[in-house]
């Protein structure tokens, strides 16, 4: 029965992959790729432009001490519904050396920007529903007492986690710098207490003015920044004890007319954290995605 299920899921994954590639070909990917992603965990107040679809693969790999190495990927589909409303679907999966490769669940999020004018601090409200299993290692946020010990168990998709997550995103753009702060509250719907976390990020393009010539390696196409994120305990044990925290630089390269690539080595800041994680991402943005599909019919 289990072998049959694995066969079916492999077939399904292969078909989904073919459909994805076919959709990209239909959308005329080569002519209109650009994306701007400055962080892996932190959100800024940047919303997706209405009608645009961004497809990104955010991956994290690590080899925690005494545990099998893993690579986890979240496939992200981000769509701008309105100037003030962006929605995203994440499909998570992971491979753990010597264990298995498996789909670990999905997340569906909405970001709403209540005030559209640009101020010193710009708030965005974030709502997410997660249906993931215990084997999920995408680490798209760290909350509560999440830590190194979560990686000790072998891959197990029997334990489901249905969670809601709320974030208050505060973000500012000033003299070419972006500074973003996220306050996170997450609740497992099975009755666990609220868990809290934070994420901070800052980023700046290496050149603020664009050069007149077309170039791939111009400084304005690169952004350098840093991120820090971690847990803040639970409702009944709020604070830093038994929490994990990470920090690291983020380098982003926006290839003109092409994808955006990002790389971020993350370092665990205390004994409860994994020592080292490497994050990498590729993101494609398709302008006016559904208009293109309609016009091609």
């Amino acid at each position: 029965m289990s072998a049959l299920f694995n066969q079916a899921s492999t077939l399904l994954a292969r078909r989904a992959c073919h459909a994805f590639l076919y959709a990209l070909a239909l959308l005329g990917l080569r002519s209109s790729l650009h994306a701007q992603e400055n962080y892996f965990v932190t959100y800024s107040h940047e919303m997706e432009e209405p009608g645009n679809l961004e497809i990104a693969a955010k991956s994290v790999t690590g080899a925690p001490k005494g545990v099998d190495a893993f690579v986890a990927t979240a496939l992200e589909l981000e769509y701008g519904i309105k100037t003030w409303w962006t929605t995203e679907l994440y499909l998570d999966g992971q491979t753990t050396a010597g264990q298995s490769t498996l789909f670990t669940g999905f997340r569906w999020e909405h970001r709403v920007r209540p005030i559209l004018r640009e101020y010193w601090i710009n708030p965005v409200l974030y709502f997410e529903f997660e249906d993931i299993n215990d084997a999920d290692k995408a680490l798209l946020e760290v909350v509560g007492h999440d830590g190194r010990t979560d990686f000790l168990a072998r891959n197990n998709r029997n334990e489901k986690k249905r969670e809601v997550e709320l974030k208050l995103i505060l973000s500012s753009n000033f003299k070419g710098w972006n500074v973003s702060e996220n306050i996170i509250a997450e609740k497992n719907l099975s009755g666990s207490p609220w868990e809290f976390g934070y994420a901070l990020g800052t980023s700046r393009a290496l050149a603020l003015a664009a050069s007149a010539r077309k170039c791939v390696f111009c400084r304005e196409n690169f952004a350098l920044g840093a991120e820090m994120y971690g847990g803040l305990g639970e409702r009944h044990s709020f604070g830093l004890p038994n929490t994990s925290h990470y920090a690291g630089p983020v380098l982003t390269w926006n290839i003109p007319g092409g994808p955006a690539l990002a790389l971020s080595p993350n370092f665990g800041l205390n004994g409860n954290s994994n020592g080292f994680l490497l994050r990498f991402m590729i993101a494609y943005e398709i302008d006016q995605a559904f208009s293109k599909l309609r016009n091609r019919r």
Binding site: E49, N52, T83, E118, A210
Partner: protein
Amino acid sequence: MSMRGPKYVLLILALGGTIFAGAGDGQWLRKVPAKDRARTDPFAADPDAPAAGGKIFAEHCAPCHGADAEGKQEGKHIRPNLHSERVRQATPGELFWLLTNGSQKNGMPSWSRLPEAQRWQVISFLKSLQ
């Protein structure tokens, strides 16, 4: 069952419609604060600025406004022609304000994610079209 409820709903919808109709295209110009309107383009004297702005325009603005900036209509969405009289007469400060804040009603997003210098370069490009 009382008919008062639906009447109030219709009245509110009619009033809402009137308010939104009043905020038609070009209304954003009235929202620009005087100090923003008076800002000058720091790249006005830079001969490379229109070319640099054109590059940014092609990457971020052309998908909606067209490669030639003459606007587009996609279904019910009208993307304005940037060769228009309104854009010609707008001050660089007004255009900079619109790029920074966007216009919710017209589906124009905020471009504050672009560094300030690049937003001014786009304005140099737009002014070079006139």
